[in-house]
Symmetry: D2
Subunit: 319 residues, 4 copies
Amino acid sequence: MHNIPVGVLGASGYAGRQLCDLIVRHPRLSLAFATANEQSGQRAIFGGQEVVFTPTSDAPLAEAELVFCALPHGASASWVAKAADAGARVVDLSQDLRPGTATERVPYGLPELLRSTIAGARVVANPGCYPTAMLLAIAPLINAGKVPPGATVSVSAASGVTGAGHSPKPELLYAEIAENFRAYAVGNEHRHLAEVRAVVSSLGGNLDVLFTPHLLPVARGILATITVPITESLGDPQELWRSHYAGEQFVRVVGSPPALRDVVHTNSALIHVSAASAVRQPTLIVLCAIDNLMKGAAGQAVQNANLMLGLDEAMGLAA
Amino acid sequence: MHNIPVGVLGASGYAGRQLCDLIVRHPRLSLAFATANEQSGQRAIFGGQEVVFTPTSDAPLAEAELVFCALPHGASASWVAKAADAGARVVDLSQDLRPGTATERVPYGLPELLRSTIAGARVVANPGCYPTAMLLAIAPLINAGKVPPGATVSVSAASGVTGAGHSPKPELLYAEIAENFRAYAVGNEHRHLAEVRAVVSSLGGNLDVLFTPHLLPVARGILATITVPITESLGDPQELWRSHYAGEQFVRVVGSPPALRDVVHTNSALIHVSAASAVRQPTLIVLCAIDNLMKGAAGQAVQNANLMLGLDEAMGLAA
Amino acid sequence: MHNIPVGVLGASGYAGRQLCDLIVRHPRLSLAFATANEQSGQRAIFGGQEVVFTPTSDAPLAEAELVFCALPHGASASWVAKAADAGARVVDLSQDLRPGTATERVPYGLPELLRSTIAGARVVANPGCYPTAMLLAIAPLINAGKVPPGATVSVSAASGVTGAGHSPKPELLYAEIAENFRAYAVGNEHRHLAEVRAVVSSLGGNLDVLFTPHLLPVARGILATITVPITESLGDPQELWRSHYAGEQFVRVVGSPPALRDVVHTNSALIHVSAASAVRQPTLIVLCAIDNLMKGAAGQAVQNANLMLGLDEAMGLAA
Amino acid sequence: MHNIPVGVLGASGYAGRQLCDLIVRHPRLSLAFATANEQSGQRAIFGGQEVVFTPTSDAPLAEAELVFCALPHGASASWVAKAADAGARVVDLSQDLRPGTATERVPYGLPELLRSTIAGARVVANPGCYPTAMLLAIAPLINAGKVPPGATVSVSAASGVTGAGHSPKPELLYAEIAENFRAYAVGNEHRHLAEVRAVVSSLGGNLDVLFTPHLLPVARGILATITVPITESLGDPQELWRSHYAGEQFVRVVGSPPALRDVVHTNSALIHVSAASAVRQPTLIVLCAIDNLMKGAAGQAVQNANLMLGLDEAMGLAA
C-alpha cells in the first residue's frame, strides 16, 4: 500500500514544523515537499529524517494529493487556489478562508462539530487555536439552548508563545517572556473573534463573546477559562458535554481541571465543567485545554486531511 | 535616631523571607528576631546580613515594638494575642483575623481603601494576595455605584507559585510547574472568597464574585483579569480609577495592559481598564497586577507597619 | 502474537513513570503491575490508559516475564533477588548492582559498549544517567588508546531536575530552580563516580575522571562537556567516534553542538567532538547529550529488556 | 550637592537598560541622555522615571561629565573618541578598546585586579562578562605562582540569554531557549578569549585557557566552572582567595557552591574553591558566579565610573 504524497506550504513556522513532524511519522502520508520563504534552503530534522525547505515559489503542487497551507494570513488564499487548480485537496491553516473573514464559504474543519461537511471537501479552512478551544467548550450549551438569549460569555484564555509565531520579535525573546505574564488585545480586539462569532451564529447561538487572551511563559498549550450564564441550574453539569462528545477520540470530559501538561504533544481537547456556587445568576465555569500547535493547528489539520483522504480520522495522531 | 526593633514570627516561608529582606534594608526598622518552626536553626542571608531562624516558641516578643506574624493559617491568632499582650503592635499576614473568617474585628490593612483605621491600630489583618488585587481593581466601581445590583463580577486570576508556599509538595516541584498551567479551586471554592465578599459588602457593594484562580509557571506575581457589567457606558473608562487613586504612591492606572514584570519586587499595583466592544451588555475589563509577596503580602505588611509606627508610608518600599 | 507481561517496581518516581509510559505504548510488552510505596493507591494515565499503583509488597512477581526495578538505591537489591527467584528476568535501574558498588557482578546494561553480555543475562544493572553520557563520550578514545596514561578527563555536566527525583524537597520547588543554576557535589563527591571509574577500568582505560555536576532549570536532559588531553592531534576528530558507533541506532555523531531539545523524549545520545585550538596540550572537547529519563534511565532499560527478551533492540523507542 | 550628569550611548540593549536603571537610582548621578539607534523614540520606565531614547547621532555629549558607551562592538570606538573630545570621561562597555582587541591601550576596568589605574583614567575599557568571571576566579592562583607553566585551565561556563543581546534572533525566542541547554563557540572560538589571554599574560600568567561557553534557559547570570591543575596541594584551598580579596565589597569567597540566584541583580562575584579528590594531578575546582548585566557589564561600569569620578566605589550598587 503506497503512501499518499502531501506537501506543506510555509513549513518553517511552528505550525509548519509540527505538520512536517506529523507527516513524516504518519503511517500513510509521505512528505512530497516543504516550502519556506525567508528560511528556504534551511534544513530541519523530523523523526530522524532531514528535510530541506524549498522556496514556496517553486512548490511542485502537482506532486501532492493534498496540500497543507501554513502561509501567513493574507498570503494564503492565492496559494490555496493554485494548489486546488493543480488538483490537490487543501487544508488551509490561515485565517483567509475562515468564517468571519472569507466571503466565499468553504467547510470549517472542526470535525467534532461539523464532521459531515469535511469528508467530501476539496478545501477546508482549519480553525484558529483559540476558536477551537472556545467552540468545543461552548457548543454543547448552544446546542442544548441553555444560554439566555443575548447573554455574555466571558472567555479568559492563555496561550503559549508558539501561538505568536516563529518570526523573531523583541517581545518574544526568552528574557521578555520568562517569569512574565500579561493580557493582550484587551477589549475584544482579537482577530479570532469574528471567526468565533460567525461559527456561534451558524450553530444557532444568540450570545455575545467577551474574549481576553493572555501570553503564558510556556512554549505550547492553550487553556480557556469560560464563565457562561445559564437559564437554569443543571443537575450534573458535566453530563451535557459527556453526551455531546460521546464516542469522540480527541475530546474528553474530565473530572478535574485539565493542565496544559495533559494535552501538549497530543491532539486532545480536555474539557471540565463545574457550576459556580454562591452567585445568584446560575453560571457554569467551562475549562478547555488544547495544544495550540496540535488540536489548535497542525494536529487538527491532519485530522481533517485524514477525513478528506478517507483514512481513519485519528491516524498518526496521539490522543 | 535609633532604629525600631521589629520581629518576624514564621520567617522561613516565602512571605517571611521577603519580610526579613525588607526589614534588613529598611531605613528605620531593625530585625529583633526571626523565628521558624521546622526550619529553626537554619541560616539565611538578607541584604548581605546573616540571619538565624530561632524557634518560634522562644520568640522574645517583648523586644519588638512591632511583630509581623507570618505563621500558617490557624496557628497565627494565638501568637497575635501573645505579641499584643507583650505590648507589641502586630501585623498579621494570616487569614485568621481577616473579615470573613474572624468574628472579632481588627482593621483590614488595605491602606488605599481603609487608611484611616490603620494608623492608630494595635493589630492589623494584612489582606490576602488575591483579595488585594481584586479589591483594588473593583473598589472604584463599587464606590461610584456603577455596577448593576446583583451583578456577577467574573475574576480569572493567575498567581506565581510562591503563593502556594514554601513547604515541599510534589505538585510544586519544578518539573511539575514548568511549561504547565492550570486552574484550581474551580467553582468558587477558594478560601479567599469570604474575605473578598466581606470587604465588598463593607464597601457597600451589592454584587456577586465568581473567582477562578490559576497556577502560573512563574515564581512571583498575580494578574487578575476582571470582567464586570456596568450600568451604562463610561466615557473614558480609566478616569474613575485615576481620580479614585490620585496621589497614591503604590497604585497606578496605566495605559496598556500591565505585565507581571512591571510589578515584581515592587509594592505597586498596576491597573488597566478598558471597555469591551461588541457586547450588548456594557462591560468593563479591569486588569490588576501585583507581586504576591510584596503588595500581596510582605510589602503591604511593611506599608501597614509604617503607618502604625508613624513613619512615612512608603519607607523602605520600591514603587 | 501475545504480549509479554512485564512489571515495574517503584513506578511512581520519574523513571518509573517513564517506564510505564514506554511499556504501555510498546508493541510487544504489556504492563502486568506497577507498584509504589508511599504513592500506592494513586492513579496515573499513560498513553490514555489508567494505571493504579499497587503496594510494592504485594507485587505479583510471578506474573511477569521481566521486572523493571526502579526502587531507591539500597532498597533495590533485595527485590531484584525476589523477582529473579520468582523466575523473572530483571533490569535494575538502581545503583545497587552496578560496578563500583556491587561486589557480585551482573552485566552492565550499556548496549553500545557491552551488548554481547546483555542478551543472555537474567539480571542487568542499568547504568546511571551521568555515567551513560560520560562513558559513551569517552569510550572510543579509551578503546583507541589515545589518552595519555594517568591523564585527567575533566567533565562538567548539567542535568535537568527530574534527575533529582520525584520526592518533594524544598530545593527542588519551582521557585528555587527557575532562573537559577548551580554546581553540586563539587570536588569529585558524586556517587556516580565509582561507577564510571569501574567501567573505565574494565574498558582498559588508565585515566582519572574529574566530575562536576550542575542542576539546570529544565525538567529533562543531560549535557556532558568533556575536555580530554590526547596523545597527539587527530586529523578529523569526529572520525574515531563515527567509526566506533557505526550502525548504532541510538548514538549519533553530529556536526554541531547538540542541544537538550534534540534528545529529550528520545533514547538517543548525540555526540559532538572538536579539537581545542590555541592550547599547547592537544585536547579534545567532547559533548554528549541524552535525556536523563530515557537513554539515562527508562529508555535504556527498555533497550536492555528488548535485548534480553530477544526482541528488536529499538522496539518501542524513538531515536 | 548637585548630581553629576552622565549619558548612555546605546541605552536600548540589555546592558544599556541596566545602566539607565542604575543611574536613575544612583545617589549622585543623573541621566543627561540615553540614546538608541533603531529603538530611538521608544520610551522606557526606570525606577518610576520615564526615559525617551534619543537618536545616538544627536547625543549632547558636552552635557555629560561621563559617558557610558554601550554601542555594539565595532561601532563603539569612534563614539568613545567623540565623547572624550567633548570633554567627558568614558566607560566603554564594548570590546573595541579591550586588551586583545585594541592596539591602543586604555586601563582595563576590573577594579579588584587593577584599581590603581582606573581612578585617574579618562577612558576605561569595561571587561566582558565571561572574562570578568574567569579572571576574578584565577587571578589569585596566577599571582601566587601555583599553576604549572604551560598548563591548561579548563573553563566550562554558562550564561543567561541577556548575554546574547536584545536584538531579536529566532534562536533566542522563548520557545527555543526554555527547557533547552547547549554549548556554543566550541573549540576555543569565542571572541572573549583574546581578552582573557591578554589579561592573563599581563598578570604574569603562563597558562593556556580552554573555554566552552553554554547558553542557559535563564535571563541573567553567569557561572564559570574552572578546573585548574596546581603545582602542589594547598592546605585550605580557599585561603588563597580569601586573602587576595580581603576587604573587597563585591568579591566574596563562599563555603558552598554559589547559585546564580545569589548574585543576580547585585554587583557581587561569589567564588568557591575546592580540591579535587581521587585524581593524581593536584587540581582545584574554582566556581565563580556573577550577574552578567551587573558585575559582568553595567554594574562594573558604574563601579568604574564611581572610581573615575572620585565617588565611593560601591555607591548605588547592591552587594
